[in-house]
Symmetry: C2
Subunit: 434 residues, 2 copies
């Protein structure tokens, strides 16, 4: 085994060696000769891993994923270019999944349109849409509601799954569509709502990373998230993939219904920029420090981004992060503000910019420490610290890249609190709620 | 003036004297002779108060409200029977508004059906319903969504008001209904969504305590909440009135659409029981003590009750109360649980009882301190402390009485934290979000 290790080291270039040096002892021992996997498709490597009960070394998977993402160049041997390990070996894999997001977005924009067009045509005449999801997927669904209502023009509800699974009293989904969202496709309640929709004659669609899952088999149409395997408990690339998929769907549905469609230009570049904002994110995390509570605010399209950023902060850093629409914040929760309470504001140029700028001022007056993830230089100047993301992209799509910065903030805060973001306490990857 | 004061005292019965002795010095000085108001309708007293810039003494208003609620008996002079002052003068008026709720519920059940039937007929053929609201009213709207979907069978969405007010990109509300909910009727964003619905040809309805408000004038139909004036910042009786109104609407819409309707039998008695559960609520508040954070869980119909209870605890006690559907709690937020974190579970007998009982056990295993507001004796036994509400009422309607217990818990916690629940820091009664 040690021979294999040294041969791997010998063949790799300097940055690969640095990457490999951060692998665990077990992974080093188990590192195969690159020639053993070099020419095998990712699919077969994943199959082999499944058979081995998930015990194949992570390096092998990283390699296979790098190839499947098209980031593997022929001369590259063990170039883990898709895995920027950063300085924190304990969050290596989560960081790699976060860093894959530009590639995931590009792949969806390259390959997703034909699938989305078929779905858009199916939604041409529906009277309403219901989105069923849990956890992070539910936050993506909330974003989907904004997109489908404003871009496609269709009244869109979030399902109350218990009405199907517990009370056997769902509404009539006839004349409508039901879209189930689950990265694993294994949530019985989400599949249950879709099954009820199908029974009622609704158009049914699954958004999932596992098209052959229960959810995938239940729905009439499947939109594959194409995010590659997501091993970490915290959903990152599947969240982003869901948002991009919903944006494609909103755009094609708008087209099919004779409305002006949505341009996705600049989206991949915006996500690139957010992935590379690590230094600013670290500064922001340092400023928030060890505060036990954080308020996360977003308005309009950025409200779901506030929900998701707060969820990631809770999951990974175990900090009480409370998300609010800044419009709802004044109705009660504002009273939680104490001097020095950190408030993270997600805000973009456009329809809500004036409001956001005055909000920064009024929060600061109340003694809050105001931080921002924004593309608005004036907000960035007024905030104590900000991640300023300048890539030009539609106001409608900004939330996708802002959440990527939020994910990194959650990882950075977790590290500051001494938590391992790859092993969030008491959580499982697939939550099977009925 | 002192003559008037003594004359008021002379005429009142012993419990009135006790009540009056707790009024502030200003109120004592300004106390009018009962004969000055005895025969005037509440309406004219309120008008006089408005003209005087709200400076008429509270006693006068209480008197007028007691009359308008039918709780004034002719021989009663200064009987403040509608105002159970309790032992805490600082929360006198909020407690009185909480205590009025059985009367408000009875009034709606007596008078609300004809109005609700007209609305139900208007909703006979709509394809979908959108509810627009903020703050507490938004929690009532979430409850309304459950009722309208399960009882009336219509897909029901919560509006994203910013799509109307900020982005000028609402969905098409044609073929649907838009229901705006606002106790004051003064929220421009809620009225804005209803105006957009009316423009699109939707059936539009206002649920408001002020039928002549902007919202009331904007909608085609008005359902008057009949809760009487609500002076306190925290919405209590208007919340309950909204929930009862939505239950009436769900029942009449079900009838009009040929579905089996909802029985509201026992509801007023259940609210009575909750108002009178003060001693158990105090014990619960003592057990929660000074914990800086509380998790509030509810599933299904009780999810909106968890939202509203947590909002009240935040508003009044300034405690970080986080509400979750117990189904979503496993997706991330569960990681916030630390040993001795208080978890308040709202749960009822019926479709979710088995799940709730096992949840109590699993939360306790994780070291949480589990408390409950419930009608399930087994949950009450397993929890450290519980408010057990036994009045028989449909599983669908239980959330209305449970929230009344939740309001009292918020008041009790506020007092334990030394806060004045009548003057929550930094909040205004009417929040005018655009």
């Amino acid at each position: 085994m040690s021979a294999k290790k040294s041969s791997a080291n010998r063949r790799s270039n300097p940055s690969d060696r640095a990457a490999i040096s951060r692998l665990s002892a077990y992974e080093m021992l188990a590192l195969p000769s690159p020639s053993a996997v070099q020419n095998r498709p990712a699919r077969s490597v994943r199959r082999q891993r499944r058979r081995a009960g998930g015990m194949l070394p992570r390096a092998l998977i990283l390699y296979a994923e790098a190839r499947s993402l098209g980031r593997w160049r022929r001369g590259d041997r063990w170039s883990c270019s898709v895995v920027p390990l950063g300085h924190h070996p304990q969050s290596m894999s989560l960081r790699s999944e976060i860093a894959e997001q530009p590639a995931v977005v590009r792949r969806l924009l390259d390959e997703g349109w034909p699938e989305a067009r078929a779905l858009g045509r199916a939604l041409t005449r529906v009277e309403h849409i219901t989105l069923a999801a849990r956890g992070s997927s539910d936050n993506a669904a909330t974003y989907g509601k904004y997109l489908l209502e404003s871009v496609a023009g269709v009244v869109t509800a979030l399902a109350a799954p218990s009405l199907v699974t517990r009370y056997q009293a769902p509404p009539s989904y006839a004349h409508g569509a039901v879209i189930g969202i689950s990265q694993s496709g294994a949530s019985p309640d989400v599949a249950g709502v879709v099954a009820e929709g199908r029974r009622a004659g609704a158009v049914t669609i699954a958004f999932t990373n596992q098209p052959r899952s229960k959810l995938g088999r239940t729905a009439e149409y499947v939109f594959a998230l194409r995010a590659g395997p997501e091993h970490e408990v915290a959903a990152t690339k599947t969240y982003t993939a869901t948002c991009v998929g919903l944006a494609l769907l909103a755009a094609t549905t708008a087209e099919a219904r004779g409305r002006s469609a949505l341009s996705l230009a600049g989206l991949a570049e915006a996500v690139d920029e957010a992935v590379n904002a690590g230094r600013d994110v670290e500064r922001l995390a340092r400023a928030i420090g060890h505060a036990p509570t954080v308020i996360v605010l977003g308005r309009g399209y950025l409200y779901p981004a506030a929900l998701e950023t707060a969820l990631k902060v809770k999951e990974l850093a175990r900090v009480w992060a409370e998300p609010y629409s800044s419009a709802d914040f004044a109705h009660g929760p504002r009273t939680l503000l104490r001097p020095r309470t950190p408030v993270l504001l997600l805000t973009s140029r456009g329809a809500t910019e004036a409001e956001a700028r005055s909000l920064v001022a009024s929060l600061a007056e109340r003694g809050a420490r105001v931080y921002a993830i924004t593309n608005d230089e004036r907000v960035a100047e007024k905030a104590r610290e900000a991640v300023l993301l300048r890539a030009p992209v539609s106001e409608t799509l900004v939330p996708i890249s802002f959440v990527v910065a939020g994910q990194q903030l959650a990882v950075a805060l977790a590290r500051r609190h001494g938590r391992d973001p790859e092993r969030p306490a008491g959580l499982a990857k697939v939550t099977r709620t009925l």
